[in-house]
Symmetry: C2
Subunit: 373 residues, 2 copies
């Protein structure tokens, strides 16, 4: 087992900051995606929370952010310590295999043997030091050649997440909790989720991957050789004057596919996927029901309020109000309510219907109301 410093010198965090977060419309939208909002109550954006959580691992100079061109200014404002060389701009969204794969390919060229950890920009994590301890175990596991994911120990039979099935311990020194993964399963129905919870060795897939860059790229290449070729071409040109021309030529044609399909599922089948269980609290803040729960601190008798200058008069004891206009908001006799008030769009729903917000976004797009998306 290599010592910690050696590992950290070869480690790089990657933050793909791409998704809009349609289930959080009209708060999240094309020009104000979810990762730019303070949804944790920390007083800063989720992106900045993510940065602060990762920086102690290998330093601020070893965090790369992959984001859309349109978000460059906002991202750099959130992350003043982000180095130019660590910004990867997408001319258009190409999904997670392209985003994480390009970061890995660039970093591998710069430092062969680099270990890359990829973490969503818009999740909430409760105990950052416990999170980092888990990542350190995952680094060791990754260094041994495994694609390593961090699984979240489920606290309820959620049907909203995919599950990772952990089997026998891996036996890698320095990573006592790491296990082999035999399957990677899609969102289950409730009876199945209950079975998973009872079994104790099913974990939520939080989309965190730690791997040697060369191992990751090789895995991409096995399932998607053309995609890998494109990524390598981009990486070769990246730190040269040809970057712009090659990006314009190659990036738009890359296949849009999630890393779950190109890397996680195939590597599980091949016995090359490992998991380190995360015991920190985690929330993907997937919808307004999550926000209500997060902000009421788990208490069911509190209306969560987001918005610095909120002027709210309410007798509601549950639900969430997001006030991004300066209007007075009055709620009478409505429970588990979700009210999201922005200058050009208003959403009224309930916690129970929060997942249906995405369908509304689709409907608005189809009905010609894309101006508010």
């Amino acid at each position: 087992m290599p010592n910690d410093n050696d590992l950290l010198d070869r480690y790089y965090s990657v933050i793909p900051a791409g998704g809009i977060g349609s289930r959080l419309w009209p708060l999240s939208r094309a020009d104000a995606p979810k990762f730019l909002h303070d949804l944790s109550g920390s007083g800063q954006s989720l992106l900045r929370d993510t940065w602060d959580r990762l920086a102690p691992l290998a330093g601020e100079q070893r965090i790369m952010v992959v984001t859309g061109r349109a978000h460059r200014a906002a991202v750099e404002k959130q992350l003043p310590a982000l180095q130019d060389a660590n910004v990867v701009l997408e001319s258009e969204p190409r999904e997670s295999t392209a985003a994480i794969g390009l970061a890995a390919a660039i970093l591998e060229r710069r430092q062969p043997g680099v270990i890359v950890g990829s973490f969503a920009a818009d999740h909430v994590i409760g105990e950052p030091e416990r999170f980092r301890q888990t990542v350190r175990q995952a680094m060791v596991t990754a260094d041994a050649g495994f694609i390593t994911t961090i699984g979240i120990m489920p606290t309820e039979p959620s049907i909203g997440f995919g599950y990772i099935h952990a089997v026998k311990p891996l036996g890698v020194e320095g990573a006592p909790d790491a296990c082999f993964v035999d399957t990677f399963v899609e969102k289950p129905d409730l009876p199945t989720a209950e079975k998973y919870l009872a079994a104790g060795n099913y974990m939520w897939n939080a989309g965190m991957f730690i791997s040697r860059a060369d191992v990751l790229l090789e895995q991409i290449g096995r399932s998607r050789p053309e995609l890998l070729a494109g990524l390598l071409e981009l990486a070769e040109a990246w730190d040269t004057p040809r970057r712009g021309a090659v990006v314009d030529q190659v990036w738009p044609d890359l296949e849009k596919i999630a890393i779950d399909y190109t890397v996680a599922e195939p590597s599980a089948l091949e016995g090359k996927l490992a998991v380190v269980p995360g015991t920190f609290s985690w929330d993907d803040v997937g919808d307004f029901a999550s926000i209500a729960k997060l902000h009421s601190g788990g208490r069911k008798s509190e209306l969560a309020i987001l918005g610095k200058n909120a002027r709210i008069l309410s007798d509601s004891s549950s639900g969430v109000v997001v006030s991004h206009s300066n209007r007075v908001i009055s709620l009478i006799g409505v429970e588990d309510i979700v009210v999201v008030d922005t200058p050009d769009a208003l959403l009224v729903t309930t916690s129970a219907h929060a997942q249906r917000v995405k369908a509304v976004v689709d409907a608005l797009r189809l009905s010609g109301s894309g101006d508010v998306l």
Copy 2:
């Protein structure tokens, strides 16, 4: 019995247009009171609906409007045919005895023996010709010396209205439906309201009074001699250059009291109150639940939408949305919902809680948010 033309030559309608309609906040408010809104779906304001309903009785030149100074411009815009001599401006609100009493006193000086009919500016009435037939019977009854009210035949055991108890027929020629009233009762509880409905001779008090002006003033004088003295002093000065000075001096000190207490209740006790039952449909549009009912045409499976440029995406089949901003409003999975969206204030409640809106207005006033009232 005098002939119709003689009566109509002595008849004048009075529209007190004063109340804000706090239960309809934030749609109705100090600078946009209820009577200036289109709540009937007619395409024009309730005030204009009221005018159009009364004009065929004795002509547009015989309708007087009592309103606040602040509303003069808006009222005159709604009612271009309103004559200057028929505008009575209140420097500050003094309740219905002062408003209607002053109109009666002015009209009595101009035309002794005048019959005055007073009708709220902000109610919805369905069959205007049937309404006018009822008013014509009330005129005949009033000419015979009675304070005459129009009672609304109840369609349900409402606890939201006061009731008028009709006893034996009056026997006045030309007013076959007129009856004596023995009591005027405050809003009852539900069992009492059910008893009233079953009895068949209890009617809703819609605040409509038709009376000879001299009879009305005499009745005010008997219960409130000082108030009458003030009204007569104002009326004497009204059509002279002294009007402004006398208004400034007298109006602010007039007692604030509803005409129900100074006229209706005492005259019932003295056997001088009559009622003509109204069989037209009537709604006082008292809260958003009323609006939802009115606009869904009684159907329970329709979301009522008010607002010319409303952009609404909703799966709700009941309730009401008032859109007075240009924002996109999206409702998901909320039923019997009330959403009132204005540029500076938003209300979210349910039909069942619509009556509690007034309490919110009071709370906003107390909490220093009077800017949105």
